[in-house]
Amino acid sequence: MLDSKIPQGPIESKWTKYKSTVPLVNPANKRSLEIIVVGTGLAGASAAATLAELGYKVKAFCFQDSPRRAHSIAAQGGINAAKNYQNDGDSVYRLFYDTIKGGDYRAREANVHRLAEVSGNIIDQSVASGVPFAREYGGLLSNRSFGGTQVQRTFYAAGQTGQQLLLGAYSGLQRQVGLGNVRLYSRHEMLDVVNIDGKCRGIIARDLVSGKLERHFGHAVLLCTGGYGNVFFLSTNAMGSNVTAAWKAHKKGAFFGNPCYTQIHPTCIPVSGDHQSKLTLMSESLRNDGRIWVPKRKEDAAAIREGKLNPNDLKEEDRDYYLERRYPAFGNLVPRDVASRAAKERCDAGFGVNKTGEAVYLDFAFNMKYKYGKQVATLKHITDPTEEQLTAFGHEVIKEKYGNLFDMYKQITGVDPYKNPMMIYPAVHYTMGGLWVDYNLMTTVPGLYALGEANFSDHGANRLGASALMQGLADGYFVIPYTIGAYLANEISVKPISTDHEAFVKAENEVSDRLNKLLAIKGTKPVDYFHKRLGKIMWDKCGMARNVEGLTWAISEIQKIREEFWKDVRVPGDANEFNPELEKAGRVADFIELGELMCKDALERNESCGGHFREDYQTEEGEALRDDENFKHVAAWQFNEVGNWTLNKEDLVYENIKIAQRSYK
């Protein structure tokens, strides 16, 4: 049985007590301890900067050309914090409760409570480091609502919150680089971890420019390498986002938690054709003011698809605002998994509105006119505004709130969303699963940690909007600086191990052999050919709805793809140069292995919960049907060999929250 190392005591005081009793490392010893941080997104940049401030010697790695480009940068809508600045009844407990419920009762209570406790500090820290959050005229911070909550606790910077937070963390990181406390290795990709005597002691990294393999020692290694949504080929992740670092760690002993928990985000720009390389999110914050609908009648939907009917001309009573209809309490702000499934249900039933039949409307016209237009008219003392005036006034407000998102939409689709309702459809966005970690964020390999999206810990089976940024920064700024002490306090006498050690040599040889093997295949098909095939299988069989037959088929298909890949992939160039195709090949090889595990996990979990929806487990109303008796646990998979795993379980204990059927009605 896995030991999650949750401290004893009441939930409100676990973290406080832990912080005051965790072993400390004195400043002189910190200077002789080396920490490797892989990935420089919110979790990695904040961890590297903070640990360096504390006096540790830090090495930070990223595969991008600069740490500032990590995919946290693309997060749009906001970051949650239990500040209760709006005086609307928010509290640490409420954020804790919302997160556990939103995760469909599949997250670990103690971790989530700690997350809620430190959430307020994140806002303070970010503001202090110069993050320009949105403000009200009085100069105080502004908030908005996100899905799955009934308070306004989301802080934001237009539709670029991730960018601003990451640049804040990045500037802290660069400050430490300038001070010589962090050595930065950009355009470097981690290709293996090195374990010595049962502890993680370093990594093998490839300098992507020269192609050379490098050995790096560390007393501890932190993986802050993000999620694995790109296993689906099409996702809202960046092109380079990958599972490789986490997967290599998994193959060296770190258990993988809940791999099948994938978040399908309800509001993305629909696929336009076969050439599509990625999908673009339209922030959840848009659901504050956008109303989601499809036509009530199938013939109207068909007419719209054929271009014979303009959606703006469809009368109010002929529209089906299906989220408002099905979930009156939360309306358009139901959690993501619920909203995504509802869109799929309408489209599958024939009400989809674009050429492919896979799109619904996200319409701002109503709120533009009657919510904001009227507000502005009142401010301007216009008592009897015309419809045109209302639209014009509202247009300005919408532009200020969501301008960059509207521009992005227009750029991609060529359609002006100020005049026409947006078309949206669900797409893969985030992975709640990841490396299994205990309360200290340590994986099952001593000295190897996983932070942010790379771990599995805080979001259960579904993540609430604006919580990913919160978790990344919580882990990096406020959790790991304490919890790593519990391990490093016992490592102070360990001298840096030479990278000539046989374990380093062996790991480097393995990495090098694998690269050469990829290059030597000289098959007929480019890497993307296999990635696209894998992605389609994952989306069709392990996406928004899953069933036994489909998953079983998918597993055998993925095994075939793996075989074919290793026989027929064509990777040009060689290993000792800048070779993006070779990088991609290694990542896709890992995605293929992961895809199989995800299907296996989805098949094993005979229930529906959050983002994991098994068609054979649903209520009469089509909602997810959990089985708490048999599945109230984390599935932590242990790697034996390719295609062969052992399942371990961590029971989830709910002492503070009464578990119930999730309802947003």
Partner: protein, 251 residues
């Protein structure tokens, strides 16, 4: 659509480069510019005659700042306010010939084909583009009200994605717009005030040592900036710089 490309090919930083012709057929107007390159690269790999074209890209939604193509003599191509990844083929016509080059600046050496090394920007930020506050020292966020106009202006400057288009557009390869965006953001906020003098002096010194050129106020940087960072920031940078020099014992 059929497109004729002339693409800069350069094996590595040490070798000579040249423009090579490619024809891409069956391009959909809904494709992004980079997706057209994906199609071409897939073909080059399958044919096995020529190596695929190396180019930087990551988020493909205009925010990471990694993509960097110099298209028909303009950074990020013909459209205003977009990055290369957000440029779509509907902005071109069937039969067009498009010339694609890397950013050209001494401070951005070519790594391969269209990919360049922009680590100079990281070093500039490391020299002063931050507020020196350690984690855990922050006061309550709302204890420091900031006028909305200032916060908004700071945000507009902070929207810089660090792509380097400003440098590529500038006839002097100056990075003043990039540096000024960061200096402005922090100068506009009260949190940035205590270090305003050292910050601007250090960042400008680092900028100069990286080999970027001087600013002659042509404004091409701002005109080509995908995030439309305003030239006002350069004026503010100059003001900050002169004020800092007057108030500093370093000169």
């Amino acid at each position: 659509m059929n497109i004729n490309l002339k693409v800069w090919r350069q094996k590595n930083g040490k070798s000579q480069g040249k423009l090579v012709d490619y024809k891409v057929e069956g391009v959909s107007p809904d494709m992004s510019f980079l997706e057209m390159f994906d199609v071409l690269n897939d073909r080059l790999v399958s044919e096995g005659k020529d190596e695929p074209i190396a180019f930087d890209h990551d988020c493909r939604e205009g925010i990471c700042g990694m993509c960097s193509m110099y298209i028909n003599g303009r950074p990020h191509g013909p459209n205003q306010g977009v990055t290369t990844c957000q440029l779509h083929m509907r902005s071109f016509k069937d039969g067009d010939t498009i010339v694609v080059e890397p950013w050209r600046a001494a401070a951005f050496p070519v790594i391969k084909d269209l990919a360049v090394d922009r680590s100079a920007f990281d070093r500039i930020i490391a020299s002063g583009g931050f507020i020196s506050v350690n984690t855990g020292n922050a006061q309550d966020a709302n204890s420091l009200p900031i006028a909305k106009d200032n916060a908004d202006e700071a945000f507009a400057a902070a929207a810089c994605i660090g792509c380097g288009a400003c440098v590529a557009a500038c006839k002097n390869s100056s990075s003043m717009l990039f540096v000024s965006a960061k200096v402005s953001q922090l100068a506009l906020l009260p949190q940035g005030d205590p270090e305003r003098n050292t910050r601007v002096l250090n960042m400008v010194a680092q900028m100069d040592s990286e080999g970027f050129g001087a600013c002659t106020n042509t404004g091409a940087c701002s005109a080509e900036c995908p995030k439309e960072i305003s030239l006002t920031n350069i004026a503010r940078l100059n003001r900050e710089y002169f004020a800092a020099q007057l108030g500093s014992d370093r000169s």
